[in-house]
Symmetry: C2
Subunit: 462 residues, 2 copies
């Protein structure tokens, strides 16, 4: 609960037009990509770093939870006010401050929509590669807080690889600048990358300096269908062995294909049990050669069909269908638990075979799709969350999945983050010593545990 004096003070800081207490406005900030719901006590829409500094100083003094929020597209509950408190929406900090073509950097505020930044930089021949599936609505600040990955990560890396420096407000209200505006910089501890992926638990990011690269001259999208899951997975290795690094190398199993069959806009062979969606980009000459190698690899491992997308519309339809997979799985069952595990690429075949087994044993549909190129598979355990028995089976399945993934040398989350959905499993991936260290780091930033509490770590108040 936020004391009434503090509510008044919050209204004063952001102005009454940007301060909300009524049910509808609180509800708008109560949920996220997980569809879970936790009501905040108040919501503010601050205008700038200075206001956020005042808000956090107040929260720290009065010891109420403060939860930063971007577009609310997160998949692990990072933006949810699990203990109530104040949601701080970052949507008004939405300026692209500069796109510096000489130094290949952009200075942006966190509320900028990812797709908007991409369009603006591409307009001047530059490129910002990270592209989470939610890029048309997600914000750059949210991407940074979660270290978002996306489809192009296999070639271009993740959000972390493009963040050079940050402006951030500490939970005490202090404003810090981290990192550099330059290509290199090693002065002091790497606060920049400690904040990237810290899920809004260490500081509120209010300014971001991003590295840009040159826009690739050409690209080509291809689709291949396979009669067996294992053949598609084998093709992934075969492509990499040919020394082609595709921009994207996406995998869909039969259930995932079925859910977006109509959205695809292409004919799908009836005996297709797996699909690869592949894009290569770069210099015009190289793209043709790489596409040939990809084709050879696909046909070599037994693709029953291989197509190069014929025009821009077909390409866009294919990728739109791919991004539609996640929501459209709800056609199968009313609910899902969506895990974004990663295994070493060489263990992908073992993982998909294990998933078949897991589905059988727990009698739940488990469609899988995702970023095969970097071993990052979205495993969806479909269930009816009102059915207690199914929930129990699904929870068992999740634990078995994580056990298997960790045995293979993988991780429980490749890009969605821990938030609240994976917090109970952190001790499967990390030792007590490591988790204790993370708790000490959290306290070094946030002695009163007011900033986005209840996420990532189980912190007990002293």
């Amino acid at each position: 609960m936020i004391p009434s004096g503090a509510l008044k003070e919050l209204s004063r800081i952001v102005g009454p037009d940007h301060f909300f207490l009524n049910y509808e406005d609180l509800l708008a900030c109560a949920s996220d990509g997980t569809k879970m719901k936790f009501m905040p006590d108040a919501v503010v829409y601050p205008a700038d770093t200075e206001e956020i500094s005042q808000i956090l100083a107040l929260a720290n003094m009065e010891k109420f939870p403060a939860i930063p929020r971007g577009a609310g597209t997160g998949m692990s509950g990072g933006a949810l006010p699990v203990n109530g408190g104040l949601v701080i929406s970052m949507t008004r900090l939405d300026r692209i401050l500069s796109i510096d073509q000489d130094n290949l950097i952009a200075r942006v505020e966190p509320g900028v929509i990812t797709a908007r930044l991409q369009e603006e930089v591409e307009r001047v021949g530059l490129f910002y590669p990270p592209d989470p599936a939610s890029f048309e609505t997600s914000t750059i600040g949210g991407n940074v807080a979660e270290c978002a990955g996306g489809l192009r990560a296999v070639k271009y890396g993740v959000t972390r690889d493009y963040v050079l420096g940050l402006t951030a407000v500490l939970p005490t209200g202090e404003i810090i600048n981290t990192g550099v505006e330059t290509a290199k910089g090693v002065a002091g501890y790497d606060l920049t990358r400690l904040l990237v992926g810290s899920e809004g638990t260490l500081a509120i990011i209010t300014g971001i300096i991003l590295r840009l690269i040159t826009k690739p001259a050409a690209k080509k999208s291809m689709v291949a269908f396979f009669p067996e899951l294992s053949l598609a997975v084998q093709t992934v290795s075969s492509i990499i062995k040919q020394k082609v690094v595709p921009t994207t190398l996406e995998f869909l199993d039969r259930l995932s294909i079925d859910c977006v069959r109509e959205e695809m806009g292409i004919e799908i062979p009836v005996d297709a049990n797996a699909m690869l969606l592949i894009e290569v980009d770069g210099d015009e000459v190289l793209v043709d050669g790489d596409a040939e190698k990809v084709k050879d690899a696909c046909l070599g491992t037994g693709a029953i069909r291989f197509d190069v997308a014929s025009d821009k519309e077909e390409v866009e339809q294919l990728w739109a269908a791919r991004r539609e997979v996640s929501p459209s799985l709800l056609k199968l069952r009313p609910g899902k638990i969506n895990e974004d595990v990663v295994v070493p690429r060489s263990r992908l075949a073992d993982l998909v075979s294990f998933l078949g087994d897991l589905s059988m044993r727990h009698d739940l549909p488990i469609p899988a799709f995702g970023h095969a190129g970097d071993g990052n598979i979205h495993v969806n355990i479909m269930l009816d969350k009102e059915n207690r028995d199914e929930v129990e089976r699904a929870e068992l399945a999740v634990r078995e999945l994580f056990e298997r993934v960790l045995e293979m040398g993988g991780t429980i989350t490749g890009e969605h983050g821990v938030g609240i959905t994976k917090a109970p499993y952190m001790d499967m991936e990390f030792t007590r010593a490591t988790l204790d260290l993370m708790c000490r780091l959290k306290r070094a930033f946030d002695p009163n545990n007011i900033l986005n509490p209840g996420k990532i770590l189980t912190i007990t108040d002293d």
Copy 2:
């Protein structure tokens, strides 16, 4: 001072053959690339993580300083036992544990020499790009601790960009594993990148998982000479504007050229006042095209000579001469202060013009060379360190240099680290709030300040 009981215990932990107290053996670990000298009280050469864990637990209990040491090539004093204590040499942990061609990763111990790793991975068609000038003697562990850069950073990034996961011993003796073996992973705070570049002050790294890439098929080295410094700098921007990203884009001013004139093995025009040394790599077809664009850029801005290195020997001689620049500057004066400042690429012209002015005003030679492609210039203030007046002038010059660099949006260190040489200037780059936060992070790792004390931050004992 290390209590005598602790000395006995250290000898027991590592075995008497790996424990040293005599003058010559201590002297061997008393200096580094800075040529400064601080004598340790004892030196140990542990065999593995377990021994290091026992050593740090002891140091933490007895509260004596423990200083990890790689090859001692560091340029900022990171490995120096400034308050005495125990030097822990990592040279016996020198195994390449695996080079995994399916997953494009290497598992190595920290004592592996950088060049040896590069050779081993290139033998199987892979590539580990980071190449600090000291790569023939430096260790991977030292590279990770300092976040080493190098000549190829303009295209391939720095050490940080290739570290996926670490095994490390905390100052309390606890062993932790951080990061992943996979392409992606976002579970918990990014301890991996917090340790990278932390200069051995937070933990001792005992295992490293490195990302590898495919070895480029072809490369081409070129050299261009210019009558004016400003024309060389203008060429750097002009190359980048042509959308060529060279592997290396190195700059040498007149004084630097003079110091390695004979080592170059090529004829140098008498009126050359600046030189660019450029390499492009990648696919065979692209390399030729990129080399043409580089040539056009160089001739377009007024190069008085442009050559493509004719064979492998000529290439190697050119790059060997480049790496020789730093030590050979001592031909000019008996000592130097070597700063590795970075400015935005668009400010390089301003920086070199400022350096000319700085040299005049303080009446000291200030040769400059380095990684122009990422704005990272090695500025060498040459002096006789026995001459008190010169030392005072040099120190003034350093402070003025840093002020100017920071005004331009740069940083005081691009790759050498802070260590002890830049620690007094940290408050020029960071606010008190940021430095205080860094101190709290140090304490979260090292409550008794026993691990590599006196580096990066001025920590006062409570």
